[in-house]
Amino acid sequence: MDIKTNKIVRLTLSYAVIAFMFVIILYPILWVFGASITPGSSMGSFSLLPEKTTWGHYAHIFNMEESNYLLWYWNTLKVCLITMAASVLVVSLMAYAFSRYRFWGRKNGLVIFLILQMIPNFAALIAIFVLARVTGLVDTHLGLILIYVGGAIPMNTWLMKGYLDSIPRELDESARMDGAGHLRIFWQIIMPLAKPMVAVVSVFTFIIPFTDFILAKVLLRTPEQYTLAVGLYQLIARDFGSEYTTFAAGSILIAIPIAILFLSFQKYFVSGLTAGGTKG
């Protein structure tokens, strides 16, 4: 086989694999969309293009009288944004300390936390609930945010530290010569350079509240406080009268903004994650 046919075969096979993956990825997503415009509330075999279509489920979830969906959306966004902002701040500061300073506990501190974090914190569900109860944070978004931020610290700090290590130290040294203080170096030199990684950490922490439903389910006690994950789960986790189609409509409306977020941050993922990874 000469090189040219070899190449053609290779590319054809590649395209075939990619096409196959496209089907596998897109089918469930289109299926959900099909379900969301199917009349009725039942779960069944939905086709991608149902014979009868309806936008009623979307109308239903946008109707504040009938459904709490918009409220849940607002709750989730609130929790997401605060979690993201707090995490980025705490994580950046910690990573900065781990990357640039020498102090007692630096060598093993991060690894210990990383390992401890492998014990999933909801194995301690009851503990978390009781702690929240003692501190009066049950049924508050603040309690949930604190848990999310705490849980996000180790992994993200570690990624961030890897990235900061790859920023040359001469920069801070020269700034120090010019008389810049600790925090000024952090804000004006390090942070702007670490933008790709900040973006990555932002996205990672932003999606935590969208993915977790179990902590939220235990901690949030009233429907007005639910996040989307809990609220939507309640729609279909009932003994009877599950509303699959409404659930599907609600899911589509969550997936679209997050997908857009991900896609717009795509280039940061590629550069940020690997710079952090290659130089641990």
Binding site: Y101, I119, P120, I214, S251
Partner: protein, 435 residues
């Protein structure tokens, strides 16, 4: 233990007095030693700190420690669980207090030593500068550190202590108190036949699941990244976009959707299979097929993350490496095996470890897909239950908190052991000193 900028040289000669010991002894009441060293402002500051700590927390500590030992004596006043949590928080507070006392003692000793040697003590201003310089990393670490202590560490300690109590359906507020029972729960777990067999079955599947699912998602991610990274391939942007989608759609949505699609009689997967190859697979009722479905689903959910990481690595590999290999007459496969793969592994090994631990604890996919089912005759957990989902069921539905905590403890010990062993092997954690 060594702080920088500190000359820790013990000089055995040249002491003219015993200030260092006196100052240190006096400092058991924080601040006195500093005053003895004539650093009045610092001394008063320490004293105020110590006094306010005691006045604010005295009652709390008192109740906390008492509760930790007794777990309550009278109903309905005492709620054992709250007493336990307060006790743990008290111990943590005392621990912080001990660190504070240690710093104070050390400071008194150091300055006493300086006086003994006839050196001049630092002025307030110098001390302040020192504090800011040396304390800066601690200052910026503290918010994260406190969060970690309360969100990650305290719950873990709490669960570990629960494992040694009889906390269950019949020992909870308001009906009764709970007690410390030592290793009773662990005994139950290993001596009662049903518990033991269930535990080992679940544990075995947990390992299979962790390795199966994670390895599949890594393999697929690497494979696709390499394919898409070929120079001649067109439409890279759209392909990468689509490949990120499974990661972008919130997992709980995808899993619930799959749960519907895999239904035996009403799901589209079997409809497709029936119309193409004429078989219907019992996805939800046979443990084997359920497990296979779960591994496929997790692969679908997990490969994009790996795909993105590896794509980044591939773009960073210098072209010269490959050119040199081509000159040496290496085939595509050889190039992959000797250049690409080692570089990928080197770069993302630490991330891979976290992927394995993530799946070890991947509650969502197990719980939402089939609730740990299908049931298995003669055991207490479902056919696809992994340790974490089993613990959840024991906690939330049958309220066997004690046993659940014991299982958590065993599981954690295992995870920590594996993780420590792994981390010691990867290069990224062997830090070189940089300053």
């Amino acid at each position: 233990m060594k702080l920088e900028y500190e000359d820790n040289k013990e000089i055995n000669t040249g002491y003219q007095s015993n200030h260092r010991k006196i100052a240190m002894f006096l400092s058991f009441i924080p601040g006195l030693g500093q005053m003895y060293n004539r650093q009045f402002i610092k001394g008063i500051g320490f004293l105020i700190l110590a006094a306010s700590f005691l006045t604010v927390f005295w009652d709390f500590l008192d109740i906390g420690i008492w509760g930790l030992f007794t777990l309550g004596t009278t109903l309905p006043r005492d709620n054992s669980i709250f007493l336990l949590v307060n006790g743990i928080i008290s111990i943590l507070l005392l621990f912080f207090a001990a660190i504070f006392v240690f710093i104070v003692l050390r400071d008194a000793y150091k300055n006493g030593q300086k006086r003994d040697l006839g050196h001049r003590l630092n002025s307030m201003r110098e001390q302040y500068r020192n504090l800011i310089d040396n304390g800066f990393p601690y200052l910026i670490l503290s918010p994260g550190f406190f969060l970690l202590v309360f969100v990650v560490i305290t719950p873990i300690i709490f669960v570990f202590t629960i494992a040694f109590t009889n906390y269950d359906l019949f020992h909870q507020w308001p009906a009764s108190l709970m007690d410390w029972v030592g290793f009773e729960n662990f005994k139950k777990l290993f001596t009662l036949e049903m518990w033991r067999s269930t535990f080992f079955n679940v544990f075995a599947w947990t390992l299979v699941w962790t390795f199966g699912a994670t390895t599949c998602q890594i393999a697929l991610g690497v494979f696709l990244a390499v394919i898409v990274n070929q120079k001649e391939l067109k439409g890279k942007a759209i392909i990468r976009t689509v490949f990120i989608l499974p990661w972008a759609v919130p997992a709980f949505v995808s899993i619930l959707i799959f749960s519907g699609m895999f239904n035996q009689d009403f799901g589209s997967i079997n409809e497709i299979l029936a119309s193409t190859i004429g078989v219907e697979i019992p996805w939800m009722t046979e443990p084997f097929w359920s497990r296979l479905a779960l591994i496929m689903i997790q692969t679908w959910l997990g490969f994009p993350f790996i795909f993105v990481m590896v794509t980044g690595v591939l773009q960073a590999i210098p072209e010269e490496l490959y050119e040199a290999a081509v000159v040496d007459g290496a085939s595509a496969l050889q190039k992959f095996r000797n250049i690409t793969f080692p570089l990928i592994m080197f770069s993302i090994a630490p991330i891979l470890i976290t992927q394995y631990t993530f799946n070890f604890n991947n509650f969502n996919v197990i719980f939402l897909f089939n609730g740990g089912g299908p049931p298995v005759s003669g055991q207490k957990a479902g056919g696809t239950d992994i340790l974490i989902s089993w613990i959840y069921n024991l906690t939330m539905t049958s309220q066997q908190y004690g046993i659940a905590a014991a299982i958590t403890l065993i599981m954690s010990a295992f995870v920590i052991a594996v993780a420590v062993w792994q981390f010691r092997r990867t290069k990224s954690f062997q830090e070189e000193d940089m300053m």
